[in-house]
Symmetry: C2
Subunit: 287 residues, 2 copies
């Protein structure tokens, strides 16, 4: 298969490296930075550099840009994709992207498959990309009702080849609802956490729990602003939920209600334990 990767950042670059190191597919790279393309060629992460016109040679194009740019790139270059080929994206929100690009592509005989590789690092850019980035990670695919099964299968097969531990199929809507909780809320909370004036006084005091809670506070604000606004309603629902829950703990502490506080904490512990158990069972059941 000929695979084109558009945007050789952390995800795109890691996809190129995983494809070249673990499969026999040809890999073409397209990026606005000549320096990045040069590095990718030098490191054997791509077989050759292409211009947008070269996308017609790809059986599968993986667009690895930020959400807004992903939509723009696909719409602006719709004429370049070969009829019968597949285009996939890797954005962290799915409904907005799927809704905007599926029909324009289908009208040209190109099928679109929305995906979300659940992997990342605190760093961005090709320099940090790794062929092992997707090991043990989940790969989410969000087909529409009329996405051709062979297109889904081709993307699924590639995901397995390059190291993903688990493939999950779901709808764009369900993806966005869940991701609001598992990823977006984590970034909001982490980013809000470090805003206490106490941050400046804590030299030497930070144990593991502080580091855990604030690791993802170091985020790309441009990308996450877009992701959050593209997923406004599910994210607002999750923020409202944690605001409401935090207020319950606040109340119990303010009232020195030891029994109430212990119950709140026990419920949280039990939910976390159940979720760890389910994750273990899901892993066992994975193909």
């Amino acid at each position: 298969m000929n695979i084109a990767v558009v945007g050789l950042g952390l995800i795109g670059g890691s996809l190129c490296k995983a494809i070249k190191h673990r499969t026999k597919h040809l890999c073409f790279g397209l990026d606005k930075s000549g320096e990045t393309l040069h590095a990718a060629l030098n490191q054997g992460a791509i077989d050759r550099v292409i211009e947008p016109e070269g996308l017609s040679q790809a059986d599968l194009t993986l667009v690895c840009l930020h959400p807004r740019q992903t939509i723009d790139f696909i719409l602006e270059n719709a004429a370049h994709f070969r009829p019968g080929s597949i285009v996939a994206d890797v954005c962290g929100v799915k409904k907005t992207v799927v809704d905007q690009v599926t029909l324009p592509l289908r009208q040209r005989g190109v099928s679109f498959v929305g995906t979300h590789p659940m992997a990342g690092r605190e760093f961005s850019g090709f320099a940090y990309s790794l062929d092992s980035l997707f090991d043990r990670a989940s790969f989410i695919i969000t087909p529409s009702a009329d996405t051709p099964a062979p297109s889904i299968d081709a993307v699924k097969a590639l995901a397995k080849e390059i190291g993903f531990a688990r493939i999950v199929l779901t709808t764009p809507q369900e993806h966005d609802r869940i991701i609001a909780f598992t990823s977006q809320l984590a970034h909001v909370v982490s980013n809000a956490y470090v805003k206490s004036p106490t941050l400046k006084k804590q030299g030497g005091f930070t144990g593991g729990s502080f580091q855990d809670l604030t690791r993802v506070a170091k985020l790309n604000e441009d990308m996450w602003t877009t992701l959050f606004l593209m997923n406004k309603d599910p994210l607002l629902a999750e923020i409202d939920c944690i605001l409401e829950k935090l207020a319950e703990y606040r109340q119990a502490i303010a009232n020195e209600d030891a029994d109430g506080l212990r119950t709140l904490l026990r419920e949280g512990r039990e939910l976390k334990e159940e979720s760890l158990l389910e994750a273990k069972e899901t892993k066992k059941a994975a193909p």
Copy 2:
């Protein structure tokens, strides 16, 4: 030096192992569980078992019980400590403990040193204790104005011997204010995080950020209820702060205010980056 350790749980057990594996001190163990004492003896974590009366043979007694039990144990056994010896605790809150035990001990010629070893695991009990638990960790000491300097020095020297990377001296009040932010708030937020109804739907979706944010949700609700209520005011201040900050993100998202949201996220990223930088410099400057 003869060291008595009271309570051979995760922290007490790890202290025993670190003392026996890394120093020449004698280590006596006191615990309500005969089974635990037997295991500790068998594993060479203690030199011998003592009853409360045996505390008179110790130059230093480390009380490693939960906060309420720590205070009760010290007050009930005040007559057993040898005049001229040192008693230290390891509780996660300091003002309440220091305030309640310092004077009764001083009246018997025993000096009290409040400490907080900043280390832990998601598991508790002697079975999980490790002689390496304190490697790279900070050891906080919270002396009062009249804690004898030689007592502080003895505790400090032991902390270095058993592997702590950094010793921090501060007041009980300042400790409690900072710990409310770096540790207690993390446990409250993490425990509240898992209470979204979306938790049940997220099989396969959980990446690193979710795992980070919710790791400490699995807590001992009895111990943390006591710790939170013993540190009510500083903790309430931190909860109020994050509630206020989260509401700002909520507002920007609800208003689809991309510029405002980007600014909020950038400020958080910059604060986190500064804090990482300071932590690095503090580490370099450490003795």
